[in-house]
Subunit: 365 residues, 4 copies
Amino acid sequence: MPANTFGEIFRVTTCGESHGAALAAIIDGVPPLIELDESVIQPDLDRRRPGSTRYGTPRNEPDQVRIISGVFEGKTTGTSLGLIIENTSQRSGDYSAIMNSFRPGHADYTYLAKYGIRDYRGGGRASARETAMRVAAGAVAKQVLRKLFNITIDGCVTQIGNIKTDIFDPKAASENEFNFADPAKIEDLKALFKELATAGDSVGACVQVRAHGVKVGLGDPVFNRLDAQIAYAMMGINAVKGVEIGDGFDMASMKGSEARDELTPERFMSNHNGGILGGISSGQEIIVKMALKPTSSILVPGNTIDKEGKVTSIVTKGRHDPCVGIRAVPIAEAMLAVTLLDAALKHRAQCANVPPSAFEIPTEM
Amino acid sequence: MPANTFGEIFRVTTCGESHGAALAAIIDGVPPLIELDESVIQPDLDRRRPGSTRYGTPRNEPDQVRIISGVFEGKTTGTSLGLIIENTSQRSGDYSAIMNSFRPGHADYTYLAKYGIRDYRGGGRASARETAMRVAAGAVAKQVLRKLFNITIDGCVTQIGNIKTDIFDPKAASENEFNFADPAKIEDLKALFKELATAGDSVGACVQVRAHGVKVGLGDPVFNRLDAQIAYAMMGINAVKGVEIGDGFDMASMKGSEARDELTPERFMSNHNGGILGGISSGQEIIVKMALKPTSSILVPGNTIDKEGKVTSIVTKGRHDPCVGIRAVPIAEAMLAVTLLDAALKHRAQCANVPPSAFEIPTEM
Amino acid sequence: MPANTFGEIFRVTTCGESHGAALAAIIDGVPPLIELDESVIQPDLDRRRPGSTRYGTPRNEPDQVRIISGVFEGKTTGTSLGLIIENTSQRSGDYSAIMNSFRPGHADYTYLAKYGIRDYRGGGRASARETAMRVAAGAVAKQVLRKLFNITIDGCVTQIGNIKTDIFDPKAASENEFNFADPAKIEDLKALFKELATAGDSVGACVQVRAHGVKVGLGDPVFNRLDAQIAYAMMGINAVKGVEIGDGFDMASMKGSEARDELTPERFMSNHNGGILGGISSGQEIIVKMALKPTSSILVPGNTIDKEGKVTSIVTKGRHDPCVGIRAVPIAEAMLAVTLLDAALKHRAQCANVPPSAFEIPTEM
Amino acid sequence: MPANTFGEIFRVTTCGESHGAALAAIIDGVPPLIELDESVIQPDLDRRRPGSTRYGTPRNEPDQVRIISGVFEGKTTGTSLGLIIENTSQRSGDYSAIMNSFRPGHADYTYLAKYGIRDYRGGGRASARETAMRVAAGAVAKQVLRKLFNITIDGCVTQIGNIKTDIFDPKAASENEFNFADPAKIEDLKALFKELATAGDSVGACVQVRAHGVKVGLGDPVFNRLDAQIAYAMMGINAVKGVEIGDGFDMASMKGSEARDELTPERFMSNHNGGILGGISSGQEIIVKMALKPTSSILVPGNTIDKEGKVTSIVTKGRHDPCVGIRAVPIAEAMLAVTLLDAALKHRAQCANVPPSAFEIPTEM
């Protein structure tokens, strides 16, 4: 689990800061002979990029990705894949006010204490800008998952502030600017964002992502369980403070007779466990939920200290999202994709010699 | 993230099944010169072991640990530490009924599909028995954390079924058989367990663990964030289906102005973020919550299939816990200990040359 | 590359000291459904064990291995495999003389400086005793290689002191007590060992190991080349100071027109490269050579210092091999087996979807 | 040991092919606050780059490195460091002849068999061009080693074909175009290269690199010994077929009484072991030797097969080095630097709490 690398067989390593020259990723372990070019990656980047929604930051980055290695004549070569996105929109004036003080709720304080140095022009690696490369790597993983394993992934926002839904509908979500699963709540959301704009405040959110077509057998029984890998992936996304698999925290108040997913030869009779049993995929849909905190980049003044440890107060101007959950959907999808691909490749490393079983329940698509 | 190994610098590797000859662990990367013998490890094992509570399985294992290497004259040598616990209580008759059928909610189905072979006498590596070695390794980690970093860890149960508390009180919890933080709820719990016994059913739970004395600076900003590592550790425990850091899912409905933790030179004014900002410890208490599902080993008959894929039904006899959360506290503490020690050692690997900072807020103990 | 673990997919982790209670290994990533019991492992242990040759140490350890997990009904289960060998022959009196002084050429000095503590009763983890567990793990790897990949491995001694041979003949070697490839040199060797016994001195050696049946494609092009992995494995064996693949150092004085291995549709016309081209196996025999230094455990007095840094002199009594190369053959075979199996499993993780090629030259058996 | 990543704490990941758009590296685990900019890296790149010597390839690449992240105001920030070198000299016409046939001695055959696809315009990742990024990463490692650990590294060529020297003199070597340690042999070398040019042939070489100022204690006793890590690093360099530590293969014919390095309070009396005892640095100079094979890119026609498996013959035109050893010195230095820095950081992770010892012999500079 090294800092800037994710995955073991399919390994994504990234670099790049919000106010640096460029973002880059090197992806190792890509299976060869998979169709790939920039057009496979760009659409997911466009879903995440600043400026994609009226309810996000007005910072407008084209986020144009360039493949610099690992692809030849439109196919992956099996050698390390290089991706680069040049940074273009760096308003250097915006951040000067925060040069000497720590924004509460941000990583400013912990960074400077850890490293003794900090790029005060922005969040550095803690900036959400870093996630562009996760999305790019996720798009590669999604393509391999589709081509080799028939796995697809989608997601949507299911809660913003106190506005919630039990619906999971990525298609409907893609048609509104909140990425929200339930179109009936759009007017409420608009009202909420009007309030937030007036108050200069922000709000938290829940995001749900699912994987379809995952066969039984991915993941390991101990430590490196598939659910543990997913939790690691999701909690590693900026602002995520909680992760659930299947029914998650609701499980605490359930009885064993309710929570177990009974089996018939044709199907599981429920999916309380979110497609994972004993750390191993069950062939059902993988269901992952996460909570994202409200961003701390707000206009409401906050108490803090400066680099000398003196009392001060701060207001975070600049171009920020009032709800980071909205643009987090492609990021969560990307991390789920990378996690599942890595698990799928590991599985075939160890268990390719296991013969098919008579009892297997059809995989849920 | 290999299957049966946890950690990078302080690395715990385990083996052993519920019905095998023994459990073992090899711990690599132990700092040398730390006082250690079996008496440091045994108390935590005794807290976890079957038979320790009237409200757990009646299976009674002494779980006596033996150090076979890595300690000389009462101190760690820096070379790999070997631990072994012989299995003594294996009632081979108990499990014969489940030899050919899959217990719903258990790993039986996913295991056999993954590996093509399964030790039908018990849960194999999916058995909670495996966690004994995590607790042993955690006791070693706790000792190193105490001696080198002044970090301590404790925990308790905060929810069983619908009986909840906001109190976090490990000391009070250690004095009741439910490990429950709030003594005022003990009578309710007794009534609940009487019901469960009658119904032959089980119930879920929430566990909370905390670390005290963690200095600012542990963890990395991207992917391998301290919260991500903790989520990986906790979700990797049997039956855990949800993990929260600090306020967790409550963050989704909060405003930015409420959720950020403001700073003064003497202290943080709140700890909504659970002691981690931008993936890095803030010097506050680390707060981790998790939900455990009700065990599926119950007497209520359930629909399932057999190894030929035919319809059948099952009842899980044997010696099982009606609420696995009760014995999970030392396991969660252990996994937090191993995670923090690994992060602390990694931090000194990369950042030992960072000078102390003027602005640092005192660490919360 | 953690200290006491070898391999990535097939991962061997060991513990145990020369004078501790036991040696143990945990092997992760073992493919399931492979026939395995102690009888598969014991023969290689018997080839390595002290007391197996008149020309080795008179210390006599039965080195009886016990499988404690990961095997059920004679087959591997895919979960972590536990191996243990109890130590039985510990003459505690033998080592008291070296308690306070550093044997020159040994790890005594570097160990104590690194860790600040040392089990003065023997070499600790630096003792050749540690290699017993490598041999056990190697026997498991050999079994998997045979069953899943049709790969076999053998080896022999090709040089002891100035007595050399160009012959590679493991069968002939197994019939003499020097493991020496050329039976014509046995009388010379006997004379040499008589001299050594008189002088109380020791001598170096070269060992050669080969793998047969390795298909084209194992290994990676950069850093983690198959030859690099093999060099890591071999140089990681106690006393090894040089490693060659194929013609090795002779390549330095060759021309390109001599050294390249030309191809025909039926075969390579030579094997100067030892079966590896560009870091990837070529389908030819893998040829690995290594040099082992003479042991420093000798009766000739040597200058050294004691724990206070004072001048002293030392004689290493006890039960030592005059030539550690003789018992090194099964160790080198074991490390080659583990390396190749790990590479084979990694290869199928990434490249299982590559279709067979028209041009492939038959694998050399 | 993932394919395109080297190191554990200080981790170098690279991508880029000889005929792709660019080469890139991401370096993780860089200690913060180290002075760094392009001017620290460029000089080593200039030593390696094509066109730097008359006796190398006439391909002329400026190899201008650009830091894209991880440095702020001239100092490392502790976050991942991004390096990029754009490719500028790609003569696409040169390689068309080898599109359908395998150059013997090259990776062409093994690559295509492994991946099912190959960039036929050049060696892809097997090209020596890839090593530019190793040299860049090595320059970063050298800077950290100098600033934090007082370690320096140098090297030179000690053998080309049959022309050898026992001298190790990096300064003298830097003054001739063969990087050769002994100036007295320059005329012989010129004559040899004239012959090679006429014959269209190439020749092998030996390179020696040393590290000065390495304190006692780096490396681990088992598997991940410092000598094993170095062997892995060196054998992972293109064309290297043999590696020695200290006296290497000469050890095979030595007696124990000659080979051990006796100690006095002031110094070791010899350095046959090359600065490593029991896998741990001894405080002496680290001495590493390696053999490089003659390049197979020659004008002498060779027998081979084409992609249909048919007999053919090949001549490798293009711009190639007659002796790849000459430009290999900075590559070997770079890999030694990365290896030692990683070992030094790991050592302080585990053993920072070990107090200084009374007996320590001064480190050899």
